[in-house]
Amino acid sequence: MTPESRSLLSQETAEGSQEMASRDATAPAELEREVGAVLRLPEGGVVNASDFDVERTDDETMIINMGPQHPSTHGVLRLMMELDGETVLRTKPVIGYLHTGMEKTGEELTYQQGATNVTRMDYLSPLNNELVFALATERLLGIELPPRALWIRMLLSELQRVSSHLMWMATNGMDVGSTTMMIFGFRERELVLAFFEKTTGVRMNHNFIRPGGTAADLPDGWEDDVEVILDNVTVRLDDYDELLTGQPIFRERMEGVGAISAEEAIALSATGPILRSTGVPWDLRRTMPYLAYDEVDFDVIVGTYGDNFDRYAIRLNEIRESVRILRQVLERVPAGDYRVQDKKVTPPPRARIDESMEALIHHFKIFTEGYKVPEGEVYVAVESPRGELGCYLVSDGSSKPYRLHIRAPSFVNLQSLPVMMHGGLVADAVATISSVDPVMGEVDR
């Protein structure tokens, strides 16, 4: 390695140096992982490093930087790519450009306020974040929810999945080049967001699913609104299917690109559509059910090749499965309370505050001081549109979390990006990032 190229590898940028170790310092174990990348060894089997000629002179490769501001619509992700011509060899995703200190902020807010903080992590499916935080808090509190609360949460969670996957299809289409898909995807999403606005009050970052249930009951006429959404989505999904699935350019760009094997995905802790695209049927709604998912009927979609096209097909069909779940929810939502009737945890209805002194005091205490949660620690996970979204909550008996850690699926899934991009072209980088579907809010928290 020449001294000049060595200094190139540890270039000072305005943000400090981000170093990549030189190739001859790479341990054989890691080299084996690179060379054994998917396209040549479909089973991810053990490779003897001496079988391959891994000697490369480093002046053939160059390191380029993509981002954090770049045309891909997936947020502030920076990629340092080592290129040999147009081929990507190694990649280092650099994150932290959206680090908000949400876990630290979570320690300063009460459990009642916690949803406002957590909801802004994965901003494409905020209700899922609130759900996992609420589930963790309820485990610590040891309270059981009434069935209607569970079904309302399930309704919102599946609608959120529909809206998130539609958003993904829109941005994925845009990244691959189909601006029509971008406009179409947002069109249906507006229907879902209008329903959310009617129910929760805001289009995004709802702060609606709170420990104890939900903030309010569903509005009158919600069944008709949801029916309209489901009918529209069903019809238009077939349009999108026709627009993209058979289209030759789309297929060329997505098939065989960004492939990953099941062993690699499991080793890298990838979950969600990435893991399912490799053929592993792991979906927390089916395998470790929460809410009322064990009472509804739906299929888990799996792919075969682990490439971008499989992930597109999985997300498209997951919208269909969500529609199926929603139709069942429409018929079977039970009547009852939308939140647990535990005065210490759930605030009283607003009308009661005028009548009863106790109600006023409870309201006051819950919203200023917060309710105390018993000491303990818990890990709860739900299936967000991106994978396993977990919440590790440690309580010290006070009204604020002692430690709030969110296991963000995108953060962990980003580790599979270098493996997917290895051996591909630079032009495929944007498509591959898009198919990993990272949401930088939850990556950086």
Partner: protein, 185 residues
């Protein structure tokens, strides 16, 4: 010789109006979506709220080709130098809309990680509050910016000492209650 040398008279008044009309009807934003506000910004670019009717649907990835930077989302400590770099690469005339409370003041995140207001890093023309601002609010901010372009001076230099009458200190829109969507000018 440039626009600064023109004396104000009837003809240059017309030219100024023409220049301002051209500038405000094709303000091209640079893609600077950071967090949740970026999603609402994309929704504004999509069909339901369509900023294409204002000539703005082309989000340029390259800051050299863009006029407007909508800082949509929270700016972290690591991102602030990048923000400044992108802003510096934009050509004059350029404007900044600070979209959302996180960009305007730091929002609900008053901590070590977030820059408390993007105006610590770049000069801001219009602040759009909201968490996130709904697309209608962002459109109102954009139209306020158009109003500002319509009534402001075309040779305003950022950072220049407030000297002439056209400086924007104390600027109010001429028709504050009449910033209607789609009003042709």
């Amino acid at each position: 010789m440039g626009l600064e040398d023109l004396q104000h008279n009837f003809l240059t008044g017309r030219i100024e109006d023409l220049v301002k009309w051209a500038r405000r009807n094709s303000v091209w934003p640079v893609t600077f979506g950071l967090a949740c506000c970026a999603i609402e910004m994309m929704a504004v670019g999509a069909a339901d709220f369509d900023i294409s009717r204002f000539g703005m649907e082309v989000f340029r990835a390259s800051p050299r080709q863009a006029d407007l930077m909508i800082v949509a989302g929270r700016v972290s400590q690591k991102m602030a130098p990048v923000l400044r770099q992108v802003y510096d690469q934009m050509m004059e005339p350029k404007w900044v809309i600070s979209m959302g409370v996180c960009a305007s003041t730091g929002g609900m995140f008053n901590n070590y990680a977030i820059v408390q207001g993007v105006d610590q890093v770049v000069p801001v023309d219009v602040y759009a509050p909201g968490c996130p601002p709904s697309p209608e609010m962002l459109l109102h901010a954009i139209l306020t910016l158009h109003e500002k372009i319509r009534t402001g001076a075309i040779t305003r230099r950022r950072g220049a000492p407030a000297g002439g009458p056209e400086e924007l200190a104390g600027w109010v829109p001429e028709r504050p209650d009449a910033v209607r969507l789609g009003t042709p000018r």
